[in-house]
Amino acid sequence: MRYVSLFIFSCILLSCKKEKAEPKVSNPPISQSGMLVLCEGLFQQNNTTLSWVNLEDGTVENQYFLNQNGRLLGDTGNDMVEYGDKVYIVVNVSSTIEVLDKQTLESIKQIDMKSNGVPKSPRKIKFHEGFGYITCFDGYVDVLDTNNLSIIARIKVGENPEDLTFANGKMYVSNSGGLNVPDVDSTVSVVNLSTNEELKKITVGPNPGGIVTDLEGEVYVISRGNYGSLPSRMVRLNSDLDEVEETFPFNASGITKMDENFLIRYTDFNALSSSINLFDPLTETIVQSDFIDMNQFTTLYGLYYDSKNEKVVGTDAMNYTNSGYLKVFSKLGVFEKSYHVGLNPNSIVFYE
């Protein structure tokens, strides 16, 4: 009997060995063509990761940020954009902007995004003439000086601003008001970039989301409706008059620019199905429906266009709790290849 307990006791002790992460050797600066993928992870799990997809040998490395920097990115990375020789990552719940050297992917600076100790909850970043503009869910757009990498101004806009674009010397910010469900916001803020002040608010429809500018300087914004009786629509704004020009009659939940055209995706959350159509913003018409075979996707999460290699890349978030995939298509929408990446891939930076 005593031997039995001794045996159990020693088994328990033996199983106590510390599990230590093996130190990884960091990678040399990137010289191959490939895709850098921001994988958002899940809320409260601090598991935002960077995946590096090497297009030359087809390999994928899923902990690239950790390997280069010896630490984690944080919680819920929402956006990643390259500008100059740097890559900027917006980490929403950690409330930071991680600025990386584009070639080494080593962190140059981690910008703390808190205001009097309260997280600003940054969402998206876009760049214009040396400045980064960051939508923050606390109702502001922060202005980042890309020379000294510090926040130099906060512009008050609408509720829970989601995305932004530039046209005609002005900035257009989509105010989602998503945290006030069901009383969401329905405006786009127009901001004067020389004074950093809001000029006016344009009412576009409930829950504004993705927003882009076409080659003619017209602004297109998605009003996501209420996921029920009010449909999700694309709205065109005139950037001279700052007025709504047209609300398109088709379903749309996201816009991706592909050269002069738009890829318009739509996800039906009740049927859990998606579609991608090709839209021409000059003629303002859909030129090709069902541009991509959606059977390649379980859950279409992000859509990108690689202009150098002329590829369309969609991210698949699976069921949002299993690691995701990148699906690569030709410019004509023909499926080519799939890569297994991290959890909830949402943004891509292309390397030539």
Binding site: S5, I8, I12, G70, L72, T96, V181
Partner: protein, 657 residues
């Protein structure tokens, strides 16, 4: 501090002398309860935790005790009063029924109880019961769930003598912890009055370490403070004709910070939770001719106020109150009919929930249950069978309502006992049960899905227990193997986007494994007592929802494959030493069993030293000193919900009879 404490004890004692003087002094029941005898009561499908064990372990709450049982896994989000739930044999926490003093404890909003808010000071015994129930005249609900945890309170039962007793306990611990507990009982001429009051506070600002790649984050837990109060009064009367009436009223009031997960680079945390609960229970038990019957009723009101001042909406945060009301009335019966022990009952339960937010659902649920069961003994064989029926009607004053449900569920058990050469019991049972979707799952703002079906389970168990009968040693071995399946498991899935999740009946899980227990106790040289209790559970909880999914046959999130306990207690006369070791193996934070989802296994060791001094006047002084997590191991049950490192607790308790 100590001086004041002693003064206070003297004061209490002085006050109590007033009414203890005139009672007929009697020696207390043999307080040296032979451990052997107590263990003999343990059966193959029941695990008992006695007040003596509770004393030795000095747990913060009932969750700590349930970790010590085998076949269970506790999920703890850390901190005093923090959320803790228990899963038995891989079934999630909503499949376990809780009964206290024969009354159902229930929360229809979440379908589970926060074990971190069930105090142990006034508990005399806890039993974890699977298979056939050992208890008597329970509400029907207690029989219809996957497993039952039954709690008996001290001072709520007649000892059938004129007596009065009081207990005062004060404890101080690390991270600003202070506990005070006061209870008293008065029994005379078939009349019983007892009451208790507990007050706790803690800062909870314990240091922790979290690894961040090759770096280590060392910080203190913030917004983890707690202040709570618990109290209750019991009044009971015994009639001359074997009948008894009892009324029990309890309240709790809790104010606490919700520290949330540790978020890298962001330590802002200011969410708060306030809980107010009152419940009152009434029962009448009568032994009439050959029939035992019990009529009982419970009413409880549970208010939960959640505040998140930093939520970025235009009203400047969230401040929502959820009010749960629960009322039940039931009759339980037991009678021997020829050779069959027959039992059964009927029960009506009413649950309602109201949200303080406008446009929210106002769900109501009426559940009617009936049960009949019988136990037949023939030589060494015992056959037991039950069948229960449940009719559940839902309504919602503000929107769509969930489906009504009618279900009939069976239970069978077969047991064989032999006494030579040792007491050997072999037991097999099968139970079919279900759990209703909770009010949150059905109606909560955007997340709820009113078309959910109940989650269904089939459980099979085969176990054996044996112990040689020896006067000197008590040795007991139990091995239980189990297999169960959960269909229509309710899981949250993000639908509209990552921020908006919705509930779906998409899960299917199979659990199998075994749990084993060895208990050994021995008294030697009269004054030395040695007690060992160890268990090991091996549990495969596999996701079998979809064979195409990358998680097919992967271990379900947060279910450890291996868990073990090793507890030793040695005492000599008035002093004792205890050691409690627990090991939980690696788990995964999501169903996908990949390295990035791994949550490391851990081992914790608690050591205790105690001194029990019995004074000449029958009062007793107890001093207990505990070091918890002696090895200062950083660990967590839930990823990034860090648990405290090494910490201390000193308790002084004074009992007067």
């Amino acid at each position: 501090m100590l001086k004041y404490l002693l003064l206070f004890i003297v004061f209490i004692k002085f006050c109590l002398l007033g009414f203890s003087q005139d009672t007929i002094k009697q020696l207390p029941e043999v307080s040296i309860v032979p451990v052997l005898e107590q263990k003999l009561k343990t059966l193959v499908n029941t695990q008992l935790i006695s007040s003596k064990q509770i004393d030795v372990l000095q747990p913060e709450d009932i969750g700590v005790l349930l970790q010590k049982t085998s076949g269970t896994s506790v999920k703890s989000y850390g901190g005093l009063g923090g959320l803790k739930t228990v899963s038995v044999k891989g079934l999630n926490s909503q499949h376990t029924a809780f009964v206290q003093d024969g009354f159902l404890l229930q929360n229809a909003q979440t379908g589970q109880l926060n074990l971190g808010q069930i105090m142990v000071d006034n508990i005399s015994e806890i039993s974890l019961n699977e298979g056939a129930k050992q208890s008597f005249l329970l509400p029907v609900s207690a029989y219809t769930k996957g497993s039952l945890i039954s709690i008996s309170s001290k001072f709520n039962q007649f000892e059938n003598k004129n007596t009065s007793a009081s207990n005062f306990t004060v404890g101080v611990g690390s991270f600003g912890q202070l506990n005070t507990y006061l209870s008293s009982k008065y029994e005379r001429n078939q009349f019983l009055l007892s009451s208790y009051l507990k007050y706790r506070k803690a800062e909870g600002d314990y240091p922790f370490e979290v690894s961040n790649g090759s770096q280590t984050l060392s910080e203190n837990r913030m917004n983890n403070d707690l202040k709570d109060r618990y109290g209750g009064v019991t009044v009971a009367y015994q009639f001359k004709n074997k009948a008894e009436i009892r009324s029990i009223t309890n309240f709790k009031e809790i104010q606490q910070g919700l520290p949330g997960a540790v978020i890298l680079y962001n330590n802002a945390s200011n969410q708060r939770l306030n809980v107010n609960q009152v419940n009152t229970k009434l029962d009448f038990t009568h032994f009439y001719k050959k029939l035992y019957y019990r009529i009982h009723s419970t009413y409880s009101k549970d208010k939960l106020n959640y505040i998140d001042p930093s939520f970025l909406n235009n009203s400047g945060g969230i401040n929502t109150t959820y009010t749960n009301d629960f009322f039940d009335v039931a009759v339980s019966l037991q009678r021997k009919i020829k050779k069959i022990d027959t039992y059964g009952g009927i029960e009506s339960k009413y649950n309602t929930l109201s949200f303080s937010t406008i446009n929210s659902a106002v769900p109501e649920r009426l559940t009617n249950l009936a049960l009949i069961g019988g136990k037949y003994k023939f030589k060494s064989w015992t056959l037991e069978s039950q069948v229960s029926g449940q009719a559940i009607q839902e309504s919602n004053k503000n929107g769509e309502k969930a489906k009504d449900v009618f279900k009939v569920n069976p239970f069978f058990s077969l047991q064989r006992e032999s006494l030579k050469p040792m007491k050997l019991t072999i037991n097999a049972w099968y139970r079919n049960s279900f759990r209703m979707p909770t009010f949150n799952e059905l109606y909560y703002n955007n997340i709820g899905n009113y078309s959910l079906n109940p989650e269904e389970t089939n459980q099979f168990s085969l176990g054996v227990s044996m112990f040689p009968l020896s006067k000197k040693n008590g040795l007991k071995l139990v091995v239980n193997s189990f297999y169960n399946e959960v269909k229509n498991q309710i899981l949250a899935l993000p639908t509209k986007n990552l921020f908006v999740w919705s509930m779906q009946n998409i899960g299917k899980v199979k659990n199998y494994g075994f749990e084993s227990r060895i208990e050994f106790s021995r008294v030697f040289k009269k004054d030395w007592k040695f007690n060992l209790s160890t268990n090991y559970t091996q549990q495969n909880a596999l996701d079998i929802s979809n064979s195409e999914s990358p998680t097919f046959e992967n271990q379900v999130a947060y279910m450890p494959k291996h868990s073990a306990n090793f507890d030793v207690n040695i005492s000599y006369k008035e002093i004792g030493l205890s050691s409690s070791l627990m090991r939980i193996s690696k788990r995964y934070s999501l169903n996908e069993n990949i390295v990035t989802n791994e949550v490391s296994g851990f081992t914790t060791l608690d050591l205790g030293f105690y001194f029990n001094h019995k004074m000449a006047d029958d009062s007793a002084l107890k001093l207990h000193f505990m070091v918890k997590n002696v090895l200062d191991v950083p660990y967590n049950y839930i990823r990034y919900f860090v648990m405290p490192g090494r910490n201390f607790l000193m308790t002084l308790s004074y009992a007067i009879r």
